[in-house]
């Protein structure tokens, strides 16, 4: 047990390190901050809700930097794209927070927040999974035909549509190999920022699909670039929460230590897989997060009588951290086994890269 002087509670420090580790793996791999997983976990450990939110946002900024350093080494960051999006993201986050305040004023914040989360995440889950299954099939077909497998395969036609938007200035993102109007990038930043600010999360699970399906990046670039955005939005969130008095810095440090190990593993793991594997994880994460938000929404809509749904949602949210980590670890193990010529399931072979190191 550690005595957190600012939070005013005693909590087991190793659980914070473990939470940081698991969320680090998931965050480094699919490019999310993991706010929707960490905040409930901290509340379970005894931190007050506002403090959980502040600690989470601050740790996201630190973890984002750790992951960014590794993704930079792997060449997964398009700095032009990231920096073009920053201002839009910040503006969006601020507007999202104000929007949330407006709904709070109307007394609708819980319903509005949970409904928006559920609708958005479910839509993204369905589209991401549908597109990823198609991409997976195409990869499998290429493998059968004996063709060289690309690192990335996407089947969505949406990026071409958005890249045709002719309004100047047109930005050339060399690493991402994308030429697109600056306004599209800014718009993606603003919209994902609004949703992130409104939902109180880093916004990675919205921004990564947006970068893939609107801007047209490869999934690896989307993950790395999104982590840069998360550093900025996390830092902004950290500043706001710190001023409000919602941050216990030692709790943040414990989480960052865990996140350092987890984020390394998650970031390095991206080198062992092709784009669709990351998108599969993203879609599973979205499905579980939809369930995690759907259960409390059902409780609110039923007049708060089904408290078991609230508790079940915490269990689902914490369970998904473990599930996603094990899935990512399995993918890396499969890549390692495949490289040594050992047996791996047929379905996973097209998703793996065997010469990462």
């Amino acid at each position: 047990m550690f005595d957190f002087l600012i939070a005013g509670i005693q909590a087991p420090w190793f659980l914070l390190v473990f939470t940081g580790f698991t969320v680090g793996i998931v965050g480094g791999f699919i490019g999310v901050g993991g706010g929707y997983m960490v905040t409930p976990a901290l509340i379970v450990f005894g931190f007050p809700g506002y403090m959980a939110s502040g600690i989470d946002m601050t740790h996201i900024a630190g973890k984002g930097i750790v992951s960014t350093v590794r993704h930079r080494q792997l060449g997964n960051i398009d700095w032009v794209l990231a920096l073009s999006m920053v201002a839009g993201t910040m503006f969006g986050v601020e507007e999202g927070i104000r929007l949330l305040g407006y709904f709070k004023h109307l007394g609708l914040s819980s319903v509005a927040l949970l409904s928006a989360s559920v609708c958005l995440m479910f839509t993204l889950f369905v589209y991401t999974l549908y597109e990823t299954v198609k991409s997976h099939r195409r990869l499998a077909q290429m493998a059968e035909e004996g063709k060289a497998l690309a690192r990335e395969v996407t089947t969505s036609g949406l990026p071409r549509l958005f890249q045709r938007f002719p309004l100047a200035p047109i930005v050339r993102c060399r690493t991402a190999r994308v030429v697109v109007s600056m306004w599209i990038i800014v718009l993606v930043g603003v919209v994902t920022g609004i949703l992130a600010g409104f939902l109180g999360v880093g916004g990675g699970f919205i921004r990564v699909p947006a970068l893939v399906y609107i801007v047209g990046c490869s999934t690896h670039i989307a993950v790395g670039t999104d982590l840069v955005e998360i550093v900025f939005s996390g830092a902004y969130g950290c500043l706001r929460h710190s001023i409000e008095g919602n941050v216990d810095f030692v709790a943040v440090m414990f989480m960052i230590v865990g996140a350092m190990f987890g984020a390394q593993f998650g970031s390095i793991a991206t080198a062992f897989v092709r784009g669709p594997a990351i998108r599969y994880m993203l879609s599973f994460s979205l499905a579980l997060a939809t369930l995690g938000a759907g259960l409390p929404l059902a409780n609110v809509l039923l007049g708060g009588k089904m408290r078991v749904l609230q508790a079940l949602s915490v269990i689902v949210t914490l369970g998904q951290m473990i599930f996603l980590c094990l899935f990512i670890i399995s993918l890396v193990l499969f890549a390692w086994r495949a490289r040594r010529g050992k047996w791996v399931p047929d379905w996973v072979v097209p998703l793996l890269v065997q010469d990462a190191v």
Partner: protein
């Protein structure tokens, strides 16, 4: 891996390990010395009485806690000090019981030089795992510098740990190749 590369990676690892250790030591020292805590519980947001909410962890209406009111520069246990809005809080203060709360008299009351608190420092809510603070963190304002300090420290620690990990894998000879995004996309 050449000898020169190995030496460079060892130096890189040791440098960032030392930097990380330094950053952690500084942050922990700042926390345990009480400076960070004082920055957190910095000013009163309302007129009232500064208290150390830990002192009445288990107070109940049946067994209320009696706090002595005085001009204390540091709150030691069951002590309280009158503060005005914007005034810097005494050491070890973790909340302010506002004059409105005292006027209500439901959760705390003032009689003579004794402040009586009838509720614990936090209440466990019936639903789920949530806690609701009663007086801790209440009516306090954090030093605005703490936000800047947190950002700088979290950035510093993130950079140090990021490069420490990179130095470690370099030292082990695990040089990760840049992913070629031009192929097939």
């Amino acid at each position: 891996m050449t000898r020169r590369e190995r030496t460079r990676s060892i130096i890189k690892f040791l440098f960032w390990a030392a930097a990380s250790a330094g950053a952690f030591w500084y942050a922990v020292h700042f926390y345990t010395s009480g400076r960070m805590v004082h920055w957190y519980y910095y000013q009163a947001k309302a007129d009232g009485y500064a208290v150390n909410a830990r002192a009445f962890m288990d107070a109940t209406p049946e067994r209320p806690a009696a706090l002595t009111v005085g001009e204390f520069s540091s709150l030691d246990g069951l002590q309280a000090r009158a503060v005005k809005k914007g005034e810097v809080l005494p050491e070890h203060a973790t909340g302010v019981i506002s004059l409105e709360t005292l006027a209500e008299g439901r959760r705390a009351s003032l009689e003579g030089g004794t402040l009586t608190v009838k509720v614990p420092w936090e209440l466990k809510q019936a639903k789920g795992f949530k806690y609701k603070d009663t007086f801790t963190h209440k009516n306090i304002k954090t030093n605005p510098l703490s936000g800047l300090w947190n950002i700088v420290m979290v950035g510093l620690i993130g950079v140090c740990l990021g490069y420490l990990a990179e130095g470690f894998t370099d030292m082990l000879g695990l040089k990760f190749k840049k992913i070629d995004h031009s192929v097939g996309h």
